[in-house]
């Protein structure tokens, strides 16, 4: 983090009261591939598309949806390498929490500490803000499904359903029309896939999208396998 010559922050206020670095970071997010999340009554689903530039790319070992604790996970839109730094920090902080309290770090606490890290990078010497927005999904001990968005500024919001990245405006409108308060997890997964398809160029299959699900029944965050995703897609057809 910034050497001694850069003891001043690079994120400074403009005359109009804006932090331009953060605005530009949000632009980077808006150029990233779409990611969305839906919180149902009995679980949360997050999904993103995984289109690669060429057919030669081997994408199986690189994932965008990542588990942070047993019962929570992240997905992002924006600059991938920045995201991986945040995933590492979040995982470490969740383990430190467990070491201190012997309890899984609650989703809200995870969000607050990650947001705090992102805010630090807007007010420290010689660093730039993270070029990602995160969607955090998880279920705490109390069984309530939770979905949060964290922005490059460090601001965080709780959502019932939301989308970030390319085409997020259309995706959000689509979700607003389809979302219902009593939606169950299975419906939520279908809706998520339909929403992704809206902005998808070409054919969607189990290998070019990623879906992460945490269900109230076992409280575990898991990624769906390509076969499982394909099953859901076939059902939708």
């Amino acid at each position: 983090m910034g050497d001694s010559a850069y003891s001043f922050s690079l994120t400074t206020f403009s005359r109009t009261g804006k932090l331009l670095q953060i605005e530009y970071a949000l632009n980077a997010v808006a150029n990233g591939r779409t990611a969305l999340g839906i919180a149902a009554v009995d679980g949360v689903v997050i999904a993103t598309d995984k289109k690669f530039a060429s057919a030669l790319v081997e994408g199986e070992d690189v994932s965008k949806v990542e588990a942070i604790t047993d019962s929570s996970g992240f997905v992002y839109a924006g600059v991938g390498p920045d995201y991986r730094v945040l995933v590492r920090k979040a995982r470490k902080s969740a383990q430190a929490y467990f070491r201190e309290y012997r309890e899984t770090k609650p989703v809200a606490q995870l969000v607050k500490s990650t947001a705090s890290v992102m805010q630090e990078y807007t007010q420290s010497g010689g660093v730039r803000p993270f070029g990602v927005s995160l969607l955090v999904a998880g279920i705490d001990g109390d069984g309530v499904p939770r979905l949060f968005q964290v922005d490059p500024s460090g601001a965080y919001f709780g959502w019932k359903a939301t989308a970030i990245g390319k085409n997020y405006v259309n995706a959000k409108n689509f979700l607003e029309k389809r979302f219902q308060d009593d939606m169950e997890l299975e419906d939520a997964i279908h809706t998520a896939l339909l929403t992704l398809r809206e902005g998808f160029e070409g054919e969607m299959n189990g290998h070019n999208i990623e879906v992460g699900v945490v269900s109230k029944s076992d409280g575990k965050f898991r990624l769906l396998t390509p076969e499982q995703i394909q099953d859901y897609l076939d059902e939708a057809n």
Partner: protein, 278 residues
């Protein structure tokens, strides 16, 4: 019994302030444990300890500034102030009790020294050991708990509290707090929770009773004898009171009455105990 750690710490405190004489024909009222074993099989230390004069024909002590009594026992840091803490589980209730004495070695200084602290309506912690660490840990625990409750917007469960306390103690692994705590509370479902740990945070949870202090041997004996599972709150109070008072009566360093708290879902009942004031 004394641990190696306490021995080295005590060694540093006492040995550094001692005059060292070699080959002088002056009777010191010290027991010098020599290289040749005088008692077979005993543990040897390199400490110089003040002891009772070895015979009535000793010359008067050359160093006359003795503010403490002569004694043969080594005093560990955990015994410096004296304490007795006990906690027991009953039917949907827990009780925790402690004595009231604060001493400086054999001199009693206070008869109303609190060793049991309320963390919230369903969680109490009792701390036995060096009084300064007892008070400091109480402050630290309240600090950490308050921050947790503000951040997480929920009350801390006894299990989490115990792990937090263990963590705080282990952080000071090589310069520990000289206190051995006892945690008593009701978990979210209302069932009793008891735990104890040593001064560096090794946790032990039990269903029946936990004890700590200078007379922990006595307390264990009384608990094993008097304890019955599923006692109601009045019976639990009686059992705790009897176990505590009988144990501290055989310990010079604890006593001067006591205080008992019985915790149930409905609330906390606290009572002072009248015991031997000696």
């Amino acid at each position: 019994s004394i641990t190696f750690f306490e021995l080295t710490a005590l060694h540093n405190i006492i040995f550094s302030s001692c005059h060292r004489h070699r080959h002088r024909h002056i009777h010191h009222n010290f027991l010098r444990v020599s290289k040749k074993p005088q008692h077979k099989g005993n543990y040897h230390s390199t400490l110089l300890l003040p002891t009772a004069p070895l015979s009535p024909h000793n010359s008067p002590p050359t160093q006359t500034h003795r503010k403490q009594y002569y004694h043969n026992r080594k005093m560990s840091i955990l015994e410096y102030n004296g304490a007795a803490v006990i906690a027991m589980a009953g039917k949907d209730c827990v009780g925790i009790a402690s004595d009231n004495r604060l001493g400086i070695q054999y001199q009693t200084v206070a008869m109303d020294f609190k060793k049991v602290f309320k963390m919230n309506d369903t969680l109490f912690v009792g701390l036995a050991g060096l009084a300064t660490d007892v008070q400091t840990l109480d402050q630290l625990l309240r600090f950490r708990m308050n921050l947790y409750e503000l951040r997480e917007e929920r009350t801390m469960t006894p299990q989490v509290f115990t792990n937090l306390l263990s963590n705080i103690l282990y952080e000071k692994r090589f310069g520990p707090y000289f206190a051995e705590p006892v945690v008593a509370g009701l978990d979210e479902k209302g069932s009793p929770y008891l735990a104890t740990m040593d001064l560096i945070g090794a946790i032990e949870t039990t269903k029946d009773f936990v004890v700590s202090g200078t007379c922990d041997g006595n307390l264990y004996g009384m608990c094993e004898t008097l304890y019955k599972p599923d006692l109601g709150k009045e019976e639990l109070f009686e059992t705790l009171a009897q176990a505590l008072l009988a144990s501290v009566d055989r310990d010079a360093l604890s006593g001067w009455g006591g205080v008992v708290h019985i915790i149930t879902k409905e609330g906390v009942m606290s009572r002072e105990l009248k015991g031997r004031q000696d």
